[in-house]
């Protein structure tokens, strides 16, 4: 089952396309990281997924074919928006009450227990909570709905390192306990590297990379060798990004699992997720997507 599926999805604001030609299918059961620079279209994609925005073109469905924004979709998705907006004048207890009233399922005991563990006073208003506490409250409200998909938009942007750690720990506990699928966006890859097992890379309003992290890492490698030979060698490979110094060149290549003999004088290394992401972000024309379009892009990237 695809937890999120998009076909030719696009969103235009005025005359500007915030997202275009987006086709992807994220399988259920993953913690999917949506990564890209600021303004790449991450929030637009998430808004389309949770149904806050409607597509200008194409289709988007969630939870195995439910139209995004439909009652059935809203029922199974919990969304924590950027800066975790909550009603500032309402107390934590009021927010629990409200969220319980607005949803079919709400695990009040779970929510109260969690807030107790986090030492967030129920009678305090959301406006008086610290940024970390507010984020935790918003996350608790979302998790208490026992969603099938948890969508988080830049959830950690406002948090200090300790609060980030606690926040992600909560998310990962829910993943382990409930098997909830997660889609979370960030422009800081480092904080997702440990938790994400699926990567969606967005830049300039287009999906550049989409796939399971393990597959992506297996399909790419770094080749280091003499700079003089690099141009000739690169001809035969699909190079995502090349960095040439005076003596040494470093090529990040897509191998598609096909192994080949490395010429003498060259060394092959495993690639880290961060290296991979940065390489693609530096080369907006390159793409690693499943299907024929990806292959075409890979060919284009080789030239």
């Amino acid at each position: 089952m695809s937890i999120v599926e998009a076909r030719g999805l696009g969103k235009r604001y005025g005359g500007t396309w915030a997202l275009r030609d987006c086709t992807l299918a994220i399988p259920a059961g993953h913690v999917a990281a949506l990564v890209g620079p600021n303004g790449a279209g991450k929030t637009t994609l998430l808004n389309l997924v949770v149904g806050l925005a409607g597509p200008s073109e194409g289709l988007v469905s969630v939870l195995g074919g439910r139209p995004a924004g439909s009652p059935a979709a809203l029922d199974g998705i919990a969304f924590v928006a950027q800066d975790t907006p909550l009603y500032r004048s309402l107390t934590a207890a009021d927010m629990l009450h409200m969220t319980r009233n607005l949803n079919r399922r709400f695990d009040d005991r779970f929510a109260r227990t969690r807030l107790g563990e986090l030492a967030i006073p129920l009678e305090r208003s959301a406006g008086e909570l610290s940024g970390g506490q507010r984020a935790q409250l918003a996350l608790t409200l979302a998790l208490a709905r026992h969603p099938q998909l948890l969508v988080l938009d830049e959830p950690m942007a406002m948090l200090d390192p300790l609060a980030r750690h606690d926040f992600m720990a909560t998310v990962m506990t829910a993943v382990a306990d409930d098997g909830v699928s997660v889609l979370l966006s960030s422009h800081v890859l480092a904080e997702l590297e440990r938790v994400a097992d699926y990567l969606v890379l967005v830049s300039h309003g287009r999906i550049q990379v989409s796939g399971e992290v393990d597959d992506l890492l297996a399909e790419h490698c770094v080749l280091t060798g003499p700079a003089a030979e690099s141009a000739a060698y690169a001809e035969r490979l699909s190079v995502v990004h090349a960095r040439r110094g005076e003596a040494q060149a470093q090529l990040l290549v897509r191998t598609n699992r096909g192994s080949h003999a490395v010429p003498a004088g060259w060394e092959k290394h495993r690639v880290s997720l961060e290296e991979l992401t940065l390489a693609y972000l530096r080369e907006p024309a390159a793409a690693a997507l499943p299907g024929p379009r990806a292959a075409a892009n890979a060919v284009r990237a080789m030239r």
Partner: protein
Amino acid sequence: MTALPMDSLPDPHLRPLPWRRMAWVTWRQHRLTLAGVAALFGAPALYLLVRGLQLHHAYAPITACQPAASNRCAAEAHQFSAAYAHGAIVTAGLLQVIPLLVGAFVGAPILAREFETGTFRYAWTQGFGRTRWTIAKLVPLALAVALTAAAFGALFSWYYQPIVDVGGDSDSSLLAATIFDVHPVAIAAWTLVAFAIGALAGVLIRRVIPALFATLAVWAALAFLTGAFLRPHYQAPVVTTAAATPRSALVINQWWTFDGKPASLDMLNRALRPVDVQALTLQDFQPGPATPPTVGDPVRYLIRHGYTQYTSYQPTSRFWTWQLIEGGWLLALSLAVIAITIRQVSRRAT
């Protein structure tokens, strides 16, 4: 763009959440606003109550005055009118702002604040669904403000009754623009439309303060245009040549004819020159130094000299019909504006 023939269809057994779930939410979020509405209507209501009791108390001897046609009774009635009518007219004028304030401070923030603080991202992604969420907020609040306004209008009617009974002039007429629209049906409708305009401005502008000012501007323009141009034409005016129209009637127009043809201002001036009276307009006459004291009313002088004065006016007997006409079209307008607001919410988001 919505039908998605993908892996599976939405659960057909998924019934919408019951409306009553929203009752607590609306109450919890808007109870302060409702308290503000209560204060907004309550404070002037208290004034109307106290002042109304005084008015009715002062008016009691006049209704009891016998014989009613006597000069003494007429003088007492005149005294009452002089003492209270002006104050009541000013009060009605000030009360005009109440619907306006409801629109600006209750209607405009409802959706604009959600956008401004980003909380719509929370509210509209809950299982209740944003269209029903919007309906569940707008409808009870609209009912609350409209019914409160209607009750307030009824209180004003009671307060104002002696001024009507004593028989005022066109300024204190039930059909005078600012008196007509604080009566029950009209004030409820004007409050409702102000609320609806506020809500729509909120969803279109998405910021509280600009939405608030837009509401003020749109409502004030609508109210002014209605009072000045639309309302006097709800029904065809009565046209009379009688020298005296009912004093409390709403005069629409006056004109003169001579020999069956319309008489111009020049003709009136020529006719009045022998007695040194100048016609400033077709209704206003200015006696000069050489005007003989025996001339009397210039209108009667002109009539004696073959001119005919026509007056078109709206009799106050049409008051309740007009309340219903105005209430009717404003209610239709409010429903349309609220429907557009709900549509805007369900269509546009980010």
